[in-house]
Symmetry: C2
């Protein structure tokens, strides 16, 4: 099956040996390799009645590429582990493969290897490799008091799209597409690294939760200024129509895979990034100086 998935797919120059042997060989010009794995499970992370298989494939790749980008690295290769029931239709398998390949190709990488196995439900696990181009990795632990925090990419769109689908709608298309196939701005990860980002993460769990990871690793407090958080007009429209809070989606919605990075000063923030928080003495994350204690925090709910 892996042969069929990888047949006739062009491999970039960095794929020194592609699928078909016991293992692949990928260029690691930096002398170091960035590596991450991310797994999507049918019924848990995706539903094939909400998303087509191509979209699921794209989503699995997007989550991985965002993790590579959040280190400041460029992606170099993907490996695929695909578990699915023997009864899975050819259309679904080919669709998954097409989505994975299309997203990989757009990022300039190949699927260099894989394993397909039989299982009771579809489990798509993707490993992404990346190259740091000689730079230090941008870790979660590098934020310093006085840094500014900027975001690149959409916030809350995936959560809005999921709510739309949950209610049986199919539009607005932009939000539904953002849920089905998030398009993280992964080329901006190296941009931020070159601009001197001190810490970076992608918003897989939601802006506040992921800023919490930086705050914990860096032993600082991050204060979000809610009026600076980018909330698209479209997001406000959907929230209003569904009786939801657009800012709450932007602050806590997951799976957008936007990039959030800290910089020593506002002048260092690259074009296209939006400053929305700053780094202070203390611990945890606050919104407009009010402590945020996580999704179940009463202090959070009062203004949600």
């Amino acid at each position: 099956m892996i042969d069929r998935i990888t047949a006739d797919r062009p491999q970039p120059d960095g794929t020194l040996l592609g699928p078909g042997d016991d293992a692949a060989v990928v260029a690691a010009p930096d002398g170091r390799v960035v590596a991450t794995v991310d797994t999507l499970v049918q019924g848990v992370h995706f539903r094939l009645d909400w998303s087509g298989p191509e979209q699921v494939g794209r989503k699995a790749v997007a989550a991985n590429l965002a993790d590579v980008a959040a280190m400041g690295a460029i992606p170099t290769a993907l490996l695929l582990s695909l578990a699915c029931p023997a009864s899975t239709s050819t259309e679904v398998v080919d669709g998954l493969a097409a989505g994975i390949w299309d997203a990989a190709s757009e990022a300039g990488v190949g699927v260099v290897g894989g394993d397909t196995v039989s299982a009771d439900q579809i489990v798509v696990s993707i490993t992404a490799l990346g190259d740091l181009e000689g730079r230090a990795p941008v870790r979660r632990s590098g934020a310093k008091v006085g840094d500014v925090v900027a975001v690149r990419g959409v916030l809350g769109w995936s959560a809005a799209g999921m709510e739309v689908l949950r209610r049986g709608f199919r539009s607005p298309v932009a939000m539904v597409a953002a849920h089905r196939t998030p398009r993280p701005p992964f080329t901006e990860g190296p941009v931020a690294a070159r601009a001197g980002a001190t810490a970076m993460v992608d918003t897989s769990d939601g802006l506040l939760a992921d800023l919490g990871h930086i705050a914990a690793a860096s032993r600082v407090r991050i204060d979000v200024r809610s009026e600076l958080v980018p909330v698209a007009d479209k997001l406000r429209d959907v929230a209003s129509a569904l009786g939801k809070d657009a800012l709450a989606w932007a602050l806590t919605g997951g799976e957008d895979h936007a990039l959030v990075a800290c910089f020593r000063e506002e002048d260092a923030v690259p074009d296209g990034w939006t400053v929305c928080a700053d780094v202070r003495l203390g611990t945890g994350v606050s919104v407009d100086a009010d402590r945020w204690g996580g999704a179940g925090d009463p202090g959070w709910r009062h203004w949600r």
Copy 2:
């Protein structure tokens, strides 16, 4: 959960950045990285009533390390994707993690990253990375007419162990252990590469099937001399007791992850390897010059 799995585990020097960030960073001194993924599914590849969780973890690692070894590379790091039901006991998760870590540590590598997700059944997917130490990868396609073929590691032991377990027995221990936790001679992969191996593979599908992969990729025929195939006395004893054919196990039993390599001449074969076949003009695999057409081949069954 990944935090608990990776906590307090020492990482080797090659792990430049371990678990806890968006991605790991691993040394790739060669400027290339070898990468492979292998997935085990509960009920398909393992049964927790036949194998303990530690054994399953070890087995998943062994299969991956054998793939890295079969390229002539040394392993450098593992990444783990663990899908399991929410009801999975702490003992099972900790056991899987312990088995993975123990096998990784013995190979001198760390588990540098991972993802744990909820699913209906346990799916263990491991990605292994490796380093070629400046050598060319040993591919399946390099065998030439006139090469000798040698094997290192046990053959048929895993198949024998599975048959023992299927019949409700727990001994002989060596065979059962070989099925539960194969111990591939992965350090011998680089040894074969340094000795000039022209092609190499590990026996995951069985000696004849895996030689078939070399034959197909190299466009040659490989003739196995059955009297040279290493068949351990213990294997003969078990086969005799169960009314099975020890040679058939050695030729077609999978999951031993022995290494099989081609060399230009017998003098090049490293110590401890057993010559058991040679490379000829033609296609496919034969046994004592009789064509073997795969597991369902009548010509194969007649002497099985």
